[in-house]
């Protein structure tokens, strides 16, 4: 009997939860805010689904009732992707070590 592809996706999902569990516990507490902003940015990879929806013009017109939702989702996800990564970068740039040369 063949295994349903869903089971493979489920395996990826479960294993990723464990990967996430161990990776996130190793994040230093002082970087918890950047962790939140970067997880925010990467969860916007949902834009992949939005692009598929936006480009699905099988009726011939660019704007149909489903592609409009795709375009809206693209805009929202794009705000998050750019905003999330840039604000994370801005925060991380501020974390500096003590200057050893100056006493």
């Amino acid at each position: 009997m063949e295994i349903d592809p869903f089971i493979f996706r489920l395996s990826i999902f479960i294993l990723s939860i464990f990967v996430g569990y161990y990776v996130v516990w190793s994040v230093t507490p002082s970087l918890h805010t950047p962790l939140m902003s970067v997880t925010n940015a990467i969860s916007s990879v949902i834009i992949v689904g939005a692009i598929i929806a936006g480009l699905a013009n099988d009726t011939g017109s660019v704007f149909n009732n489903s592609s409009i939702f795709g375009f809206l989702a693209i805009t929202l996800a794009a705000v998050n992707i750019f905003g999330g990564f840039l604000v994370t970068q801005r925060m991380l740039a501020m974390y500096k070590k003590k200057k050893k040369d100056k006493k």
Partner: protein
């Protein structure tokens, strides 16, 4: 156009890059590289999606336009936002992820053919379940984050909003969501799909209104987790491994953060979610409060104490963020350090309005991160320190958590500030903190209260040093 197998491999690569992005955050040195991996992973995912669709017609132009429009708004916000507003920003971003998940689910429901899920009215059962779960969780994330945003921004009162029958009502609505998903999957009716969305928006709203301002660290982490599960739900629908991996990562990340925050308050997750804290205990402690003597001082006294100290520990809290006192604080510390005084910072896990809030503010004020310590790292040092400078923190220093089993915060890990030779407490008034209980520390013999705005007091002390 590239083959489905090749694009699946690329999605896997971008999933791995996202794991590396989080992994980089294990230390500040590697974190910037981690963020770069994240950006790279996102670029790969988006590019591969375009290539696999192979559709560069008029629609493609619109996709780029919307992408750039959203992107420039995001970039603008990212550069303009002050660091003190980070909790609001993160809550706002969560709401966008939630809403995007809802929109993608709607698009997939209206045009399942585009996603290879069957035809309208005859969507594959598995996909429909995944889609409706993704949509429901996305909707809850959206409306919950909007409420969290409004509370953090101060547009909505930070105090818990409770009413009679709240919990039974919420339980009923959550139950009805499960029923709706079941009915939707058997009937494929679009009316049920819309009802499901409306009910999910409603429950997100109802779940967050009873939660108070200082519990926001838990709420934000929880919504972070939800946004991940929503993405994973959509990922299953789209059969996309990048989305599934990311959703699982973000979901577990948010869950761990909520756990850490709950532990920092010694409260169970359900206790926080059910809302309201300390409302019952106020009356009992109010009576004997007025009689106790309090020593209060001015900037001059504080400066004198600190000048004669050899080590000082700073305990920042939400009040520092409100007063935007972090830069003034660092200037004060610089002056102290010139006199050879050892200064370190002690951060309680739930200080501020989101995980790591204080660390970001101190980093913004150019405080080197190796002078900033977590609770467990520094708690033993208080006994050897001369002065503890508490600025804008309250409940997290209350010794009652260790001594009084009757207290609502009993068992909560606290900073052992009272073990210092002397304690300086910058606060506007004697009013109790969020937990609604009196802080014994105010009345200790070695405590000097400095009643003033945190920023102004810190500046005055610097002048007097």
């Amino acid at each position: 156009m590239i083959s489905a197998n090749l694009s699946a491999i690329f999605y896997l690569i971008s999933g791995v890059l996202f794991i590396l992005a989080l992994r980089g955050l294990s230390s500040p040195e590697t974190s910037r590289q981690g963020n770069f991996f994240g950006i790279l992973g996102m670029t790969i995912a988006i590019t591969v999606t375009f290539l696999s669709l192979g559709n560069f017609s008029a629609g493609f132009i619109y996709v780029i336009i919307f992408l750039l429009a959203g992107g420039s708004v995001g970039a603008f916000i990212a550069y303009k936002i002050p660091m003190t507003a980070m909790p609001e920003l993160v809550a706002g971003f969560h709401s966008l992820v939630g809403l995007a998940a809802v929109f993608v689910a709607i698009a997939a429901f209206l045009n399942p053919g585009a996603f290879n899920l069957g035809a309208p009215g005859n969507i594959k059962l598995g996909s429909l379940i995944e889609m409706s779960i993704g949509a429901a969780v996305g909707a809850i994330t959206f409306s919950g984050s909007v409420i969290a945003f409004l509370k953090l921004q101060g547009i909505m009162s930070g105090s818990p909003i409770t009413f009679k029958g709240q919990h039974p009502l919420n339980a009923l609505i959550l139950f009805s969501i499960i029923i709706l998903i079941f009915l939707l999957c058997t009937s494929q009716s679009s009316n049920l799909f819309w009802t499901l969305l409306v009910v999910s928006f409603l429950i997100g709203f109802l779940l967050i209104i009873p939660i108070g301002g200082a519990d926001m660290p838990v709420v934000i982490s929880m919504l972070n987790s939800y946004s991940g599960w929503a993405a994973a739900g959509i990922g299953f629908t789209l059969e996309n491994s990048a989305l599934i991996i990311t959703g699982a990562l973000v979901g577990s990340s948010g869950a761990i953060l909520s756990y850490i925050m709950c532990k920092g308050m010694n409260r169970s997750f359900f206790n926080v979610i059910l809302g309201g804290w300390g409302a019952t205990d106020q009356s009992s402690t109010n009576q004997n409060k007025e009689q106790k003597p309090v020593k209060s001082g001015n900037a001059d006294d504080a400066a004198f104490l600190m000048k004669n100290a050899s080590s000082v520990i700073i305990v920042p809290g939400y009040g520092m963020a409100v007063a935007q006192a972090q830069h003034a604080l660092r200037e004060m510390v610089d002056t102290l350090k010139k006199d050879g005084i050892k200064v370190s910072y002690a951060i309680h896990p739930v200080a501020g309005r989101m995980p790591g809030h204080m660390n970001v503010l101190l980093a913004e004020a150019n405080v080197p991160y190796d002078e900033v310590f977590e609770l467990e790292e520094i708690n033993n040092d208080f006994a050897n320190a001369d002065v503890a400078f508490v600025i804008g923190a309250n409940d997290v220093t209350n010794p009652v958590a260790k001594t009084d089993p009757q207290s609502p915060i009993y068992g909560m890990p606290v900073l052992d500030v009272e073990k210092c030779k002397s304690v300086l407490f910058v606060k506007r008034s004697l009013s109790p903190g969020y937990a609604g209980i009196d802080n014994d520390l105010f009345y200790k013999e070695n405590t000097l209260m400095l009643f003033a705005d945190a920023k102004k007091m810190t500046e005055d002390i610097t002048k007097n040093l």
